[in-house]
Symmetry: C2
Subunit: 346 residues, 2 copies
């Protein structure tokens, strides 16, 4: 039932109840446990291969979905139990996400440095474990001194951060705190703790509320400006003394989270095969917005390293501005995707 596509025009579509939610949660909990087992088997230790990375990604994926469903549909669930699990799931997915985020950020920044140097695209780096070294010297041959030094500096800083995140994630997965989370998810896989006397048994109004929170947040975004190409807004404050990340990015990050909640709320009702391509496009634009925003901040941060050469600082300035323009381009892409989206039944 949970994975079944319900036609919004179908009169039975309005009757999705706790059963659909329980089915979805059971499926996601099972997936969480499967990914956990795989992660342990493939050894999340240093230098963990592709399978280990995939397992960690699958763990985060199901943790996000369980957490989102507990939030959107909380009136149907045992409140005390739900409230105790949600922050723990957020801790798990947040802790596991960091290593990947640092790696992706470094990749993005090195690719940008190569693009800005007019060099051929950086050859695909195999996702190196924490033991993976900096890119081969040959990769840097076509860069100016400044770009090469900036790349080396970012490589050092982000590789260190990634290595630390990797250790933290491994420690977390071995902790008693994590075992408690896994135990709770195991309960979910067999028996979803529904509210004893649920005041609401119908899912649609709750999904509609999630959609409304999204729509309200989008309405507060400066979409008119964003839809005007080359509005130069994302780089305003690019040299301001305020600390990064830019405060103007906050509402967009918030919409990204609300869009994800909306998407997962729909999955409970319609299954993920029914994912709306426009919602997916809007979500991808906001992911890119977040990634570029954080990459720009990392470049600005690296430029504050004491005793760097002026040529390094110059390259980091160009890189920062480039990524802030990616931020602006992402907002434009989101505006286009959102504009296309028609109001639809949830």
């Amino acid at each position: 039932m949970a994975q079944q596509h319900l036609d919004p025009a179908d009169p039975t579509a309005g009757t999705a109840t706790g059963d659909a939610l329980a089915g979805y949660l059971r499926a996601q909990a099972t997936e969480f446990l499967r990914a956990l087992r795989l992660h342990r088997e493939t050894g999340g230790a240093a230098g963990g291969g592709e399978e280990s990375v995939d397992a960690a990604s699958a763990l985060r994926r199901s943790a996000r979905r369980i957490s989102a469903s507990l939030h959107t549909y909380r009136p149907l669930l045992d409140p005390a139990w739900t409230e105790s699990l949600r922050p723990e799931l957020a801790w798990v997915s947040g802790t596991l996400a960091l290593e990947h985020a640092y790696e992706a950020r470094l990749e993005r920044l090195l690719q940008a440095l190569h693009r800005l140097s007019g060099a051929a695209a950086l050859p695909d780096r195999t996702p190196a474990g924490p033991g993976g070294g900096p890119p081969a010297a040959a990769d840097r041959a076509s860069l100016t001194v400044g770009a090469a030094k900036a790349g080396a500096l970012l490589d050092r800083q982000l590789t260190l951060a990634r290595t630390r995140a990797h250790s933290t994630a491994l420690q977390a997965l071995g902790s008693s705190r994590f075992h408690a989370v896994a135990d709770k998810v195991a309960v979910l896989a067999s028996e979803v703790p529904l509210a004893p006397a649920a005041p609401v048994t119908e899912l649609h109004p709750l999904a509609a509320a999630a959609r409304e929170r999204l729509t309200d947040a989008v309405a507060a975004l400066p979409l008119l400006t964003a839809g005007h190409p080359y509005n130069a807004q994302a780089l305003v404050h690019g040299l301001s003394p305020d600390p990064s990340p830019h405060p103007q990015d906050g509402p967009w990050h918030q919409v990204r989270l609300l869009l994800r909640l909306h998407r997962y709320a729909r999955e409970v009702l319609h299954g993920d095969a029914a994912a709306d391509v426009r919602i997916l496009a809007a979500g991808q634009a906001l992911d890119r917005h977040r990634d570029a925003s954080e990459a720009a901040a990392a470049a600005a941060q690296a430029a504050r390293t004491p005793r760097i050469a002026p040529a390094t600082a110059y390259a980091l300035g160009v890189l920062h501005a480039d990524q802030r323009h990616e931020v602006e381009a992402s907002r434009f892409a989101f505006q286009r995707a959102w504009q296309k989206e028609t109001v639809e039944a949830v």
Copy 2:
């Protein structure tokens, strides 16, 4: 006749001949001499006021038009006489243009630094003569140390360049070489030296050829890419070891010149009141393209100053990238303006 608007649908429109050209050249030559007199009266000396600036601008304006008409309609004119005057007019307008260009470049870069610092817009600087100092300290209070230092560095370098350009222009205007140009223009104001046996007496085919040279050059531009917002092409090579200005800008600069030739060729036929707003919009986009391209190069050049602080270099990197995005935005604006333009009779 020259300033009269000829309707392209008017059957007499096709009969514009040497008379129209002679009328136009006489009018522009008279304007050149008037501006020259005004420039001498208002004293182009150091600290010359607004009137002197206006006079220099009017001089350049008429020199460009005379030069363009001699080029487009050269089969109607005495070839030896024309060929001797054209390079001299280019020398005059090029020499006079430099001072203004450095001043506008500095203004553009300081405005950008303020925008990038999230500060209120820079208060209008009265166009300072070469004696004019850097902007008041209060203007810089809202900038970070890096942005303020970058602004001061650009101010020093571009003010020095402008002062030199001013001296060079004054020397040029007092030279015997310039007096020879002025004498020739005085001849033009009274008696246009038409070709003794002009093989062509009809202007329209020559104006059409000017338009065709423009259309061909535009067709060779990467307009498909330019029309796609945030294509990130202008900053490719932003960190390359190649010297600035970017070679990719060349074809756009060339189109800017051809567009101007086309516009002046139309003025001879239809008068300047008949200027096409879309041609004007396309021309403005290309002017902005040129200005941003040169401002970006000035920021990159300033970053090569020995012994600057990393914070200064970082700010110059951000500024360079910002101006390269202005370059990209200008190409987008040109593409839009050009797309709107329908093929029209010249």
